[in-house]
Symmetry: C2
Subunit: 106 residues, 2 copies
């Protein structure tokens, strides 16, 4: 049962849930109302999101509010970093190509 963030965000419904609760915590019922799905289905997704600590439940009376652990999202950003370096140097390479073309035209 490997539960990592990348697997968590693979599902479009889960990505939608994440976006939905990013700004304010919501209950499973409230979340389900925003999609064409049942509360139980949302509940399952929330469980997966909770397991990999992307989401945090908070009991309030008989309701449970789920909020996004924004810090955890940074892990994806961190993984992207290795490629960000490449994007940036890719620009320089593009510069080289452009100047080479310029030279050839002469």
């Amino acid at each position: 049962m490997r539960r990592d963030i990348f697997q968590a965000i693979a599902d479009p419904t889960r990505r939608a849930i994440i976006t939905l609760i990013a700004l304010q915590a919501m209950t499973p019922n409230a979340i389900a109302e925003n999609f064409n799905t049942t509360r139980q289905s949302v509940s399952k997704h929330l469980r997966i999101l909770t397991e990999c600590e992307l989401v945090k439940p908070e009991q309030q009376g008989r309701e449970i509010y789920y909020s996004l652990e924004i810090e955890k999202m940074k892990e994806i950003d961190k993984w992207l970093n290795q490629f960000r370096k490449i994007w940036e140097t890719r620009f320089n390479q593009l510069d080289n190509v452009l100047s080479t073309i310029k030279k050839q035209k002469k």
Copy 2:
């Protein structure tokens, strides 16, 4: 058969492949040698990566070199942008919370 980037990077082997070929194109056999898996398995992963245009094949004689489409990786970055705004303003909100607590204590 929806193939999107998020589903593509959900698999740890595929993430490893992406990292591996990020700097230089490689053949399926060469990639497979880096993991505990068969060429056919890698081939399947490459197919998925190709389908969602994260990877580009280039035939060279009887070999096929696969390289990363770094531009496509930016789409993940783009999706993260909506949360980046939050984790930046979160600092300000933290300030607000702290001052609210201060008030209540009075």
